[in-house]
């Protein structure tokens, strides 16, 4: 028997043994540009659509086709899904789901509203956002704020099963979408500001039975890190790679939650995600027994795990011993691109810490780590010399080290601010230009850590910070950046008055879309960022732009509804501490431009 045939038979047997394969359905439907079936557009998280009816020449004629009020006022992140003739719209807490009939002018087919204890509201750091639903095999997977994961019949909205992933009384909540892959649903958890110990968990897609759970911190048996086989920067991680980097039992309340996005590579059976900050925000309290910085693995890391077992294949820690709240949860975009003249199976990630990383997604090799905002100043760069003991580590500039400055002292002028050069708002990749389109924040901060004590279910922060627009720049708080991930260089950058807190969309029509906090949907040219169209929607946009087609027409849709971290930090505007005593808030206040309200706006050509 030929080897290929044998493999074929084995694969066939595996398929028979596992009848539910969400992957096939997601791959088939996300390959069809008429639909948008998971939040990230596809498993690679590219947020690129092959639709090209709306193009650079005609996008200026875009008109509102229809709108829909969600009835909820909180910050609206994520985007609607389109599966065949049905659009699925989610809301922030109370996490309502609407199924809308695209054949019948958006008539509501069904509505699902869970009953949740409102005590979950205040344990959600920074608004009750929710980054949306996922569809696979006729099921809508809905992960509520209180961590209840529910499978809904896509046709009727009836519950198929539900399971509880965490305990809000300990500060465990959910804001993220889920990853339907093979016969599993993979989910994360929020709550690093409450001392939650982060994890990712796989549930059976058909029954909700828990299959495996992998913690970010703790013993190898719970992190599912294999001392010999899990690699980091080209070497096995060794025994207890997490435990060894914590002082005593601090890892038990150590954070490192997983509240961002998931991507998946069918070729290697790996899924990729990032982990959040260590708790508390006071680095002095987290120092090693000798009073020196200690890595706190695997917080602030990119982790690649096997879908079936949860075992980590490789991991890379971007910000060892965090001193600024630079969570590593942002999306991991998979793309095959030229890196310094060589074609690579790459993973590209724009971290909160202000560095754009390009890694080999198969091996975890670090290829590029460069600043995607020139304002970034906390590091002089990452050591790329493989022979250096500092290989792969960012070099911290003493002046901006909140640890070296010390607790009860104010470290001034750190760029970026705690909200990062970019937060969760996902970037897009266009294979037409080989560029990444990145929504960014252009904000710096003063940061003063101090001692706090831990109480279960209570905030565990331990730092006070004030934010201001990056000094010596255009005065705005954001940029929309086109990034060459092969070279680690900015191709072009378009200044924005406020942080760009909306996920981007790239299209085959040569148009790139994003939303702004004032509420504009903007369309720009993929080549140079030239603005081709804008329209002010009813509220500020922190949702992600998506596109679909129905009845032969291409539509572009976005949720408005200001809120989230952006709404908390920027509603009142920022002040500049260097303006001195008596200066009135000198920077634009978001509340002068927009007010609350969840609305879906759908655009098309006349």
């Amino acid at each position: 028997m030929h080897r290929h045939t044998l493999v074929g038979v084995l694969l066939g047997a595996a398929a028979l043994a596992v009848p539910a394969q969400a992957s096939k359905d997601v791959l088939d439907r996300s390959g069809d540009p008429n639909q948008w079936v998971i939040q990230t557009g596809d498993y690679a998280n590219q947020r690129y659509s092959k639709l090209e009816q709306i193009n650079r020449d005609n996008v200026k004629n875009l008109k509102v086709a229809w709108t829909f009020s969600t009835g909820v006022l909180r910050g609206h992140e994520g985007s609607p899904l389109v599966v065949g003739d049905v659009m699925y719209v989610h809301t922030p807490f109370p996490n309502i789901v609407y199924a809308l009939d695209l054949k019948n002018e958006g008539k509501i087919i069904w509505k699902y509203e869970p009953k949740q204890d409102p005590s979950v509201i205040p344990v959600m750091c920074c608004d009750t956002v929710y980054r949306g639903l996922a569809h696979a095999d006729g099921t809508i997977y809905h992960h509520q704020a209180d961590t209840t994961l529910v499978a809904l019949d896509a046709a009727t909205g009836k519950e198929k099963w539900k399971v509880v992933n965490g305990d809000p009384k300990k500060g465990e909540t959910n804001t993220a979408t889920v990853l339907p892959v093979k016969d599993k649903i993979i989910v994360g958890i929020s709550g690093a500001e409450f001392g939650v110990r982060g994890h990712v968990t796989a549930y059976d897609a058909k029954t909700g039975k828990q299959l495996w759970r992998a913690y970010t911190l703790g013993p190898d048996s719970e992190t599912l890190f294999d001392p010999e086989k899990t690699m980091s920067l080209g070497k096995p991680v060794g025994k207890d790679s997490s435990l060894k980097t914590w002082n005593g039992d601090q890892w038990k309340i150590g954070g490192g939650t997983a509240w961002g996005w998931f991507s998946y590579d069918p070729e290697t059976n790996l899924f990729f995600y990032g982990t959040a900050n260590p708790s508390t925000w006071n680095p002095v309290q987290r120092a090693g027994a000798d009073g020196k910085p200690i890595d706190q693995k695997w917080t602030m890391s990119i982790i690649a795990r096997d879908v079936d077992t949860g075992t980590a294949r490789w991991a890379y820690q971007m910000t060892p011993f965090d001193e600024w709240d630079f969570d590593g949860v942002n999306e991991m975009i998979l793309a095959d691109i030229d890196v310094k003249g060589q074609k690579r199976k790459a993973l590209v990630h724009f971290d909160r810490n202000g560095l754009g990383y390009t890694l080999d997604r198969v091996t975890g090799e670090l290829l590029v780590a460069e600043k995607y905002d020139p304002a970034v100043n906390w590091t002089s760069g990452v050591v790329m010399d493989k022979n250096s003991p500092q290989y792969g580590r960012p070099q911290v500039v003493s002046k901006f080290s909140t640890f070296q400055t010390g607790q009860d002292k104010n470290t001034k002028g750190v760029c970026p601010a705690a909200l990062g050069s970019k937060d969760q708002q996902p970037a897009a990749f266009s294979p037409r230009t080989n560029l990444f389109y990145v929504p960014t924040n252009h904000v710096c901060m003063d940061y003063e850590p101090f001692r706090v004590s831990y109480t279960a279910g209570q905030p565990y922060v331990g730092a006070t910070l004030s934010m201001f627009p990056a000094p010596g720049s255009h005065g705005g708080m954001g940029n929309f950046v086109a990034w060459d991930a092969g070279q680690g260089k900015i191709a072009w950058s378009k200044p924005e008055q406020f942080s760009v807190w909306s996920g981007a969309l790239a299209t085959a029509g040569g148009v790139v879309f994003y939303g702004t906090l004032e509420g504009y949907l903007k369309a720009v040219d993929e080549k140079d960022g030239k603005e081709l169209f804008k329209f002010k929607t009813p509220s500020g946009i922190i949702g992600n732009v998506m596109t679909y087609s129905h009845g032969g027409k291409q539509y572009v849709a976005v949720l408005s509804g200001v809120g989230g971290w952006a709404g908390i930090g920027l509603a009142a505007g920022l002040t500049n501490p260097t303006d001195g005593l008596g200066a009135v808030g000198g920077y634009a206040a978001l509340r002068d431009y927009t007010a609350l309200g969840g609305t879906l706006t759908v655009f098309t050509l006349p």
């Binding site: 509201i121 205040p122 920074c126 209570q458 006070t464 910070l465 509603a571």
Partner: protein, 169 residues
């Protein structure tokens, strides 16, 4: 009662309120660097060169650790929770303590909001007066936005009270 007279009484009441607020700031007493009004309510002290008392400064820090992730920077409010510099224009010290310790809940058709009960959170409760005087200074318009530029040194009594409150933690 004639409307004019009613209006006069109203004006008189307002004037009385103004007087009592100013009086609060003029008749205040200091003990070990901690200031209070004549009726014993904690308050702030800001000298003419902008130097704030320790507790107002401490309140600034604690507010921006524990409260600002919902209520926004400098007590200004956010898209998520109300601006406390408005609330403290009318809210009494006792009501403030009650709201922080026991929480609050609003459930309406368009809105569900909940202030958590922070009564068992020492990072808040050990600094409740500090946070109150900071916000009161902001509400009264006595303190601008941002980090207070100058402050007095931390009194030894503040250190001792902190240790006692945390129970040696």
């Amino acid at each position: 009662m004639k409307p004019v007279r009613f209006a006069l009484i109203f004006v008189a009441l307002l004037a009385a309120l103004q007087v009592s607020q100013t009086a609060g700031q003029t008749d205040k007493k200091e003990k070990d660097g901690k200031w209070e009004t004549a009726d014993g309510t904690p308050t702030y002290q800001i000298s003419s060169d902008g130097t704030v008392d320790w507790y107002t400064f401490s309140g600034f820090r604690r507010y921006h650790s524990e409260c600002h992730v919902c209520h926004g920077p400098d007590g200004e409010g956010s898209t998520y929770a109300p601006g406390l510099i408005e609330s403290l224009k009318t809210m009494s010290y006792a009501d403030f303590m009650l709201a922080v310790a026991s929480g609050r809940e609003v459930v309406r058709a368009d809105k569900q909001s909940k202030m958590p009960a922070l009564g068992d959170n020492p990072n808040v409760m050990c600094y409740l007066d500090d946070i109150y005087v900071y916000l009161k200074a902001r509400a009264d318009g006595a303190l601008p936005r941002g980090r207070p530029a100058k402050r007095v040194e931390k009194p030894a009594t503040a250190d001792a009270a902190e240790k006692a409150c945390f129970g040696g933690k």
